[in-house]
């Protein structure tokens, strides 16, 4: 393996790990605005990873995806979420389904699970990004876990977006990104999801005087 490729692969791994670290930070963070900032940071790392992969492999369309990531996930979505937080006047997540130390431990376990699952697959790959696959899966699982552990609708949205970041990283790692048209579709979906959650939290606030999704149980017959 030439040195440049080796170095590139190491750099991609480094960026992926930074993404993973952001996940842990989100899980450990109670303040909502900080969660959103961390998500923006994670997205920035993701864009960097994508740009790096594009540079190393010469796939132009990944640049495009990286640019879209910056616009939508680093700028637009965090802004929407911050607005929602401002309007709802909630700054902290008080009650949690799983407390922070236990949550961090579970996330650690999830990372191990992700590596364990991808263990047999990774040696089959030949791309320089192949090691990121395990990290991508770990990010997806942690994002999912965030949705379960938190009660506020906004952190659930953050969890969902983190999952989406994981999927994006996975796609980049496994196949140098999806076809551009698919990426565009996914970005659009994410944006729409962000808007819907914005409206949905607003409604939730109106109906229950809280954005705590646990209150939705009263809707059951």
């Amino acid at each position: 393996m030439p040195v440049s490729t080796y170095l590139g692969s190491q750099l991609v791994d480094l960026c992926s790990v930074l993404l993973l670290l952001c996940c842990f930070a989100i899980v450990a963070q109670r303040r909502l605005s900080a969660c959103v900032d961390l998500f923006a940071l994670q997205s920035a790392f993701l864009a960097a990873t994508a740009a790096l992969v594009a540079f190393l492999t010469g796939h132009r369309h990944i640049y495009f995806a990286a640019a879209l990531t910056i616009v939508i996930k680093v700028i637009v979505l965090p802004r929407i979420l911050r607005k929602v937080i401002e309007r709802l006047n909630v700054s902290r997540e008080l009650g949690m389904n799983v407390n922070i130390p236990a949550g961090l431990l579970i996330c650690g376990v999830l990372v191990i699970v992700a590596f364990f699952i991808t263990q047999p697959i990774i040696p089959l790959g030949y791309l320089l990004t192949r090691d990121s696959l395990a990290i991508a899966l770990a990010i997806i699982l942690i994002g999912f876990f965030t949705m379960i552990a938190r009660q506020k609708a906004i952190t659930q949205m953050v969890g969902f977006l983190v999952m989406e970041n994981g999927v994006f990283l996975g796609a980049t790692a496994a196949a140098y990104g999806m076809p551009l048209i698919v990426e565009l579709g996914v970005f659009f979906d994410v944006l729409v999801a962000g808007l819907i959650v914005g409206i949905y939290t607003h409604r939730l606030q109106d109906a229950f005087d809280s954005v705590d999704t646990s209150t939705l149980t009263v809707l059951k017959e």
């Binding site: 699970v113 699952i117 047999p120 149980t217 009263v218 059951k220």
Partner: protein, 675 residues
Amino acid sequence: MSTLLTILLASYLLGGLLPLCVPGRPHLQNLLAHGCAAGAGVVGIALGLAGLLAADPLTGSFSSNIPYLTFAFRLDPLAAFFVLTISLVGLAASIYALGYVGEFSGRVSLTLLGSLLNGFLLSMTLVVLADNGFFFLILWEAMSLLSYVLVVTEHEKPGVREAGLFYLIMTHVGTAFIILTFLIFFQETGSFSFDSFRHPDQRLPEGLRSIAFFTALIGFGAKAGIVPLHVWLPYAHPAAPSHVSALMSGVMIKTAIYALIRVYFDFLDGEFPWWWGFTVLVIGAVSALLGVMYALMEHDLKSLLAYHSVENIGIILLGIGAGMIFHTYGLHELAALGLLAGLYHTINHAAFKALLFLGAGALQFATHTRNIEEYGGLLRRMPWTGAFFLIGAVSIAALPPTNGFVSEWLVFQSLFLSFQLPTLFLKLILPIAAAMLALTGALALACFAKAFGMSFLAQPRSSHARHATEVPVSMRIGMGLLAGACVVLGLAPMLVVPLLDRITGPLTGVAISSKVLALDGWVVAPVTVEFSSISTPVLAALLVGAGALGLLFARMMGKPLRARYYKTWGCGLNLTPRMEYTATGFAQPIKQVFETIYQPTVKLETEFLEQSKYFIKHQRFEFHIEPLFEKYLYTPVVTFLLAIADRLRIIQAGSLHLYLTYIFVTLVLLLLWAG
């Protein structure tokens, strides 16, 4: 023939699509939808006749990308006969609908109603043409769903939605069993094509054949409305618009008869064990008797007719069951006779039941009620409807010389001929079935004496009936067509029997048309002329002749006839509708006799004047009969299912986080398992 078939399918498709293309013009939409359906009906009748007369079946097939699915069709005489039946009723119903749908204008989308009707007719036609199990199931499901949507046309009424749901559940239970039937064949033959079902490489094992027999009986029986799977009929038929009820009761439930004959005589041909036919016979007899008994107690005209559908499906199954028993014992001519009687009754029932449903729709159109108690005196206000309804009533009551009489007589004869069977048990059972059929016929007569008498004779019992007027001409044409069909089918068995013989011939291996029709077709006989024979044209001539002779006799012997107009004698009182016999009163003696079956609850509340208890202020009479099957069969099943569902609700906590956890745990476990 293939041209006719193309035109037929294209007209239904056009009828379904064209109304959607001209939004905002309800009259044009109405004309387009029902015009196309009527045109397709005419073409379908021609196609049916051509298919019956053709030497070879018309086949065709279009392959598809989906494994095992080919769009194969086959127009053999059996399919052609049902295409003919569907088209006949479809033609009448669509002409009728031209005027009738006005009843719904403003309340439901007429565009949708017209276009769905075309889709429904198309799916029924294709069901009988399908020659591939997969294709058949898709069409069967389309037919069920389209009819469901048509049933809930007036979904703003709460009862209608419940009726629709009930129907949907029952028909899907049936479909599940039909899928099982086809899977049994598929498992043995490795293909869904009907040809491979017909000629499997090796004969299916005996046990599997019997399982297929039962799953088909339950699956198609649920659609046909055999007891105890009949419970949806009295809910769904009244809920639907009347032209749809006519189609559902007249032909949709017949597609199940088609499928039963197809499965039993075509796929499972060869020797049946005797108890197959016996089972069908018993179910037929019980359905016939219970159907008519519950019909007698109904005062909702369309529910009453729905119960009569159960009865007539029973009569059809009596013929088919007898045919199956004879087939087992190698009495092929008698087998053909039983089958022929069943098929004859199938088209007859399609004609008169659709006619009666259209008549009921006309009454509802004119009076806005379905309750017989609120009718009365309608014959003077709606003479055409009355006359057509009378023809239908006479046919369904199996009075000579109408069509119901011919086919029911043939069923009787095939049951009586059981003395040729070798086993004593069956020799005893078949006449008992005949006796039950006789009782059924008598009760049906009573029921339609009630239905016609209470609706059309005497004085109006409500202001609805008092202000009724005759229905639009298109509705009368629709009914008139079917009334004509009833008379022709009754008076001209010599035209019908040879056609039916072309169906039963290949299925049983013998042609009996020449033996059933003696004396150049003027006499119908059950294979052996010596046993018994009957001739409806002669009977009709006798009836007319006797009437004329009586009149002539009176003219000659008595004083010259002089019409005298005077009030009906009323014991010095003014006649009021309150003096009339009511439908409840009419059915009372029969209710008393069959008390064990009806288990009626009668409640009479009397409120007296305070001053004296000899004067009554109010009196309230209430009676209802116990719906046995719902109480003892369906309620326990539903209760059981609800209890299980309640248990399962524990995992349905309504918590978003819990649901997410389910997904998460499943995902991780699956990943671990796969890794």
